[in-house]
């Protein structure tokens, strides 16, 4: 194969193909800057008006051994001219910066997909690091693909040569070379990235210049090489009119919390302890001291929740954030908040488990932990975000429920949502829903004050210290209803247990009915929750487009379930519940509704691909497990 690497041949006029969308994965060493490249491609595509969805996938180690398979960091983005719900399954193109990146990712590339490799990093040493006996570029592994080999390292060094950087510094610019090339291939503007370089490296002009040159060199390389038969274009999507920005899950959650705090007039107090993949919420909220936000990096997960409960007792919006292992540590504190009936939010950004598990990978396996993982009968409302931007709404809704019913509320997200990004239509801040909160004063309360007197939904009053004549003591011992005094009376304990359960059940009166996307009755209902929303939506629409009677119901509240859920489930011949766990929602649904739901489960630390869902659903349609 003859490759022009000189870069000074005349630009070739090339046909431009318009595509409805493209899925691109950038893979390299964890130090190669793939996440940055991916973020730039995402932002640029969003600015170009595409709908976008991303899936960053990185190792748990900050700098895993160079060149190894364990050290591969990937970033996948789908951009499209139509509405999309996932970062895509099959890749249209894969950029592999080294053999380890190639070997761990190439199976996801579609046949005839474009495989761009950095040829310079396929030396004997690189192959050994990736535990490869043979150069994959010399095997038929790459046969099905359009392979484009580019000596990126030497080209980048050449592009920045005049600047007198060290080899190491020059090699750091390689990701910008790759970026320039990808941007050329998909007809993306370089301008937003040039602005980014200015903002990020402005203080180090020679690095800024080097990155700019590498970016341009990548673009120029595309223009001059004859290896690409055409370039591609993805037109703007028909999104609802409005002003948009890209938003990541943890950022949207942080902004949702901030908004809930403002809308309720309750100062936000976050007690948190660093843990992947939740720490970004602590980082994000720590930036908003100008909103009066107080963030408290506690000594451990336990102190994190306990400090938030202390803040709640004092009348603040107490929040704690963590992931599975940290949530396990918080459970005793959460039990106390349930007993004391104080409003607060506990946020679980799920990751692969058990134990330390897969800290940077996604899973939905904390559902039963958060619903049941405490001593005693200790019910709590549980809600789950379905996508990055949805986190914004979920945070507000959860706080509204917490304050209305005087209960802690659990919010579930996961690593896939937390780090994924999508366009978000910026709301008009003045039209956001207020969240009314009331603290009684002594003139509106008859003496003696009864801290456990209840309203129509069984909520008790949120009387806070500093209020004259409403002094009261709360704690973890069983309370007498009304007075809140310690009580060991058997009938009172039964009554209080029932009351706490009924109070949480009352959430169903506020959250509305379960809605169905698709026919009201039919052959198959897909029931999903959390981060599988996008893949399930895409799969069900695809099957309906093929003429199947498939509907999709996505649960926003996992405890309690919407009031009409049992009735919805019975309208379909089969119910299938895809989950990234071993069947946790399925267990709840079967026990609660006696519906023989079918599971489709995966725990590989990866989200569902649409095609695996479609395949499974198709087979259920042609060979039903249960005949009605």
């Amino acid at each position: 194969m003859v490759t022009s690497t000189t870069g000074n041949a005349e630009p070739q006029p090339r046909p431009m193909e318009t595509l409805p969308g493209a899925t691109v994965r950038l893979a390299g060493d964890s130090g190669d800057g793939m996440q940055l490249l991916g973020t730039q491609l995402t932002n640029t595509s969003a600015l170009a008006g595409n709908d976008v969805a991303t899936f960053p996938d990185f190792p748990a180690e900050i700098r895993a051994p160079r060149g190894t398979r364990a050290g591969v960091s990937g970033f996948q983005v789908q951009f499209a001219s139509e509405e999309i719900f996932t970062p895509g399954d099959g890749l249209d193109s894969l950029i592999a910066m080294n053999p380890a990146a190639l070997i761990t990712n190439v199976s996801d590339l579609k046949p005839s997909g474009i495989l761009i490799v950095n040829e310079d990093s396929f030396t004997e040493k690189d192959l050994k690091l990736a535990k490869l006996e043979q150069n994959p570029l010399a095997t038929d592994l790459i046969e099905p693909y359009r392979v484009i080999r580019i000596p990126m390292t030497s080209l980048t060094r050449g592009a920045v040569e005049a600047l007198g950087l060290s080899t190491k510094e020059a090699d750091r610019c390689r990701n910008f070379f790759a970026m320039g090339l990808v941007f050329w291939l998909y007809s993306r503007s370089l301008e937003p990235t040039q602005r980014f370089i200015e903002a990020k490296f402005g203080k180090k002009p020679e690095l800024a210049e080097a990155n700019r040159r590498a970016l341009q060199a990548g673009w120029n390389y595309g223009e001059t090489t004859e290896e690409f038969a055409s370039t591609y274009q993805v037109n703007p999507a028909k999104l609802e009119p409005g002003t948009y920005r890209n938003i990541m899950g943890n950022q949207a959650l942080s902004w949702g919390l901030l908004t809930a705090s403002q809308q309720s007039g309750k100062p936000l107090f976050l007690g948190s302890y660093p843990i992947t993949p939740a720490s970004d919420i602590l980082h994000e909220l720590s930036k908003y001291k100008n909103f009066g936000v107080q963030t408290f990096q506690a000594e451990d997960e336990i102190a994190a929740i306990c400090s938030a409960i202390g803040a709640a007792f004092g009348g603040s919006m107490g929040v704690t954030t963590s992931s599975g292992p940290g949530i396990a540590l918080k459970m005793e504190g959460l039990g106390l908040a349930i007993m004391m009936e104080l409003p607060m939010l506990v946020i679980d950004i799920q990751r692969g488990g058990p134990s330390t598990g897969l800290p940077t990978k996604t899973e939905q396996s904390d559902l039963l932990q958060v619903i049941f993982g405490r001593n005693g009968e200790s019910p709590i409302p549980v809600t789950a975000a379905r996508s990055p931007s949805d986190c914004f709404d979920v945070a507000q809704e959860a706080w509204e429920i917490a304050t209305r019913l005087m209960t802690p509320v659990m919010i579930l997200s996961d690593g896939y949502i937390a780090n994924g990004a999508e366009p978000w239509k910026i709301p008009d801040a003045s039209s956001l829903k207020p969240i009314p909160v009331h603290h009684p004063s002594s003139d509106e309360i008859d003496q003696p004050f009864l801290p456990y007197q209840r309203d129509d939904l069984l909520a008790r009053p949120w009387a806070i210290p500093g209020t004259p004549n409403l002094m009261h003591r709360i704690g973890g011992l069983e309370k007498e209803d009304g007075t809140g005094n310690v009580s060991y009376d058997p009938d009172n304990h039964q009554h209080m247990t029932n009351t706490r359960a009924q109070k949480v059940a009352n959430v169903a009166k506020l959250i509305g009915d379960a809605e169905v996307d698709g026919p009201e009755t039919g052959d198959l209902l897909i029931l999903s929750w959390g981060g599988t929303y996008g893949a399930c939506t895409t799969a069900s629409r695809q099957l309906r487009a093929e003429g199947s009677e498939v509907a999709h119901c996505h649960l926003r509240w996992l405890n309690p379930f919407p009031a009409n859920l049992g009735e919805v489930l019975r309208r379909y011949n089969q119910v299938v519940i895809p989950e990234l766990n071993c069947g946790q929602l399925r267990m709840l649904i079967r026990s609660r509704y006696l519906v023989d739901a079918i599971g489709f489960n995966k725990v590989k630390g990866k989200p569902f691909a649409v095609r695996e869902l479609v395949e499974r659903f198709r087979s259920l349609l042609s060979n039903p497990v249960h005949q009605s």
């Binding site: 336990i302 803040a311 106390l336 008009d428 002094m471």
Partner: protein
């Protein structure tokens, strides 16, 4: 005292709940002294909060007619920190015991103290687990025979005040349940200090560890076994005030005043920045030494919650108060038109 406040009496601070400690327990005396000194503090009842953990001592909040939280084992400093950071206007006490504070809650205690959150931590030290019926605690002497250590405990005990000083405490004191006058005065000093106050109170558990502190409570011997610390005063003790403490290099020694000049004694200075002498005092144990009581250390350092407030104010002053719409629109945005 704030003149607009109604004058309160000790009885105003009692709740309507029956006190359920064992008869003769040292906790009664601490409760009585607390109620007695609170009126002197001049804080309205609704602005007082008692937060406790788990154990006999931790029932304390139920008996106070103030706001209160009986929380979970060992975590009271964490609840109280969240409360005080968000509500610096409140006066917050943490009531805890030796097991609660030093065993299950050791981590929270240490970090709360180093942050200098303005909390008054009163630790009832009875050197035993009372509520769970008599297991040895982190302050029980080695060899202590209990239900869980029938042939004697193996662990070496720790000294609570050394722990507090090691954690950078700004206020450290010790008193004794039955030394009521001293106890009341010490509680008041603790409450008046800005920052974390850590007070160890020797408390007799007459059911499971009776007489653990008899050497400092028995009428006949207490004066010979106790060193009452007074700021600016030489360290003199004994029934006849005939003994003193002198430093020999870095080591304290007991000397007879008959052959030692008072000027050669160690003079107590609770306000020195360096905690070294306070630490040395915290290492003086019975029977080698008289046990010091009183305020070991009382120094000024900004409180955590005050600094939290100052950071917020400074940023609001320089950046302006946060605006949601501006935040949503920050960074790169694009517009889709009809």
């Amino acid at each position: 005292m704030n003149p607009t406040l109604p004058v309160l009496k000790a009885s105003d601070f009692g709740s309507d709940q029956d006190v359920r400690w064992c008869p003769g327990c040292g906790d009664y005396s601490i409760l009585a002294q607390m109620k007695k000194v609170l009126p002197e503090l001049g804080v309205a009842r609704e602005n007082l909060v008692f937060v406790s953990g788990i154990g006999c001592s931790s029932r304390f909040p139920y008996y106070m007619n103030t706001y209160g939280m009986h929380s979970i084992h060992g975590r009271a400093p964490a609840f109280a920190s969240g409360l005080k950071i968000t509500r610096p206007d409140l006066t917050v006490f943490v009531i805890t015991g030796d097991g609660d504070a030093l065993s299950i809650g050791g981590n929270h205690l240490m970090h709360c103290i180093r942050r200098n959150v303005d909390l008054n931590i009163i630790m009832f030290n009875n050197s035993i687990y009372g509520l769970t019926k008599g297991q040895y605690s982190p302050t029980s002497p080695q060899g202590h025979v209990t239900k869980s250590t029938p042939v004697g405990s193996l662990d070496f005990p720790l000294s609570p005040l050394s722990v507090a000083l090691g954690a950078e405490a700004t206020f450290v004191a010790r008193s004794i349940d039955f030394n009521t006058k001293h106890l009341g005065a010490t509680l008041l000093r603790a409450a008046q200090h800005k920052g974390t106050s850590f007070v160890e109170v020797f408390q007799n558990c007459n059911v499971f560890n009776d007489g653990a502190w008899s050497y400092v409570t028995d009428r006949g011997t207490k004066d010979d076994h106790t060193l009452v610390l007074e700021h600016g005063q030489p360290m003199i003790f004994g029934k006849d005030r005939d003994k003193g403490i002198r430093l020999n290099g870095l080591i304290p020694e007991v000397v007879n005043l008959s052959d030692t000049n008072v000027d050669d004694l160690l003079f107590h200075n609770e306000q020195t920045d360096s905690p070294h002498v306070a630490f040395t005092l915290s290492r003086m144990h019975h029977p080698e030494y008289p046990v010091p009581i009183g305020v070991f250390r009382s120094v000024e350092r900004p409180t955590y919650e005050k600094q939290v407030g100052e950071q917020i104010e400074a940023i609001q002053a320089s950046k302006g108060v946060g605006d949601l719409q501006q935040l949503f629109k920050s960074g790169e945005t694009w517009t889709v038109s009809e």
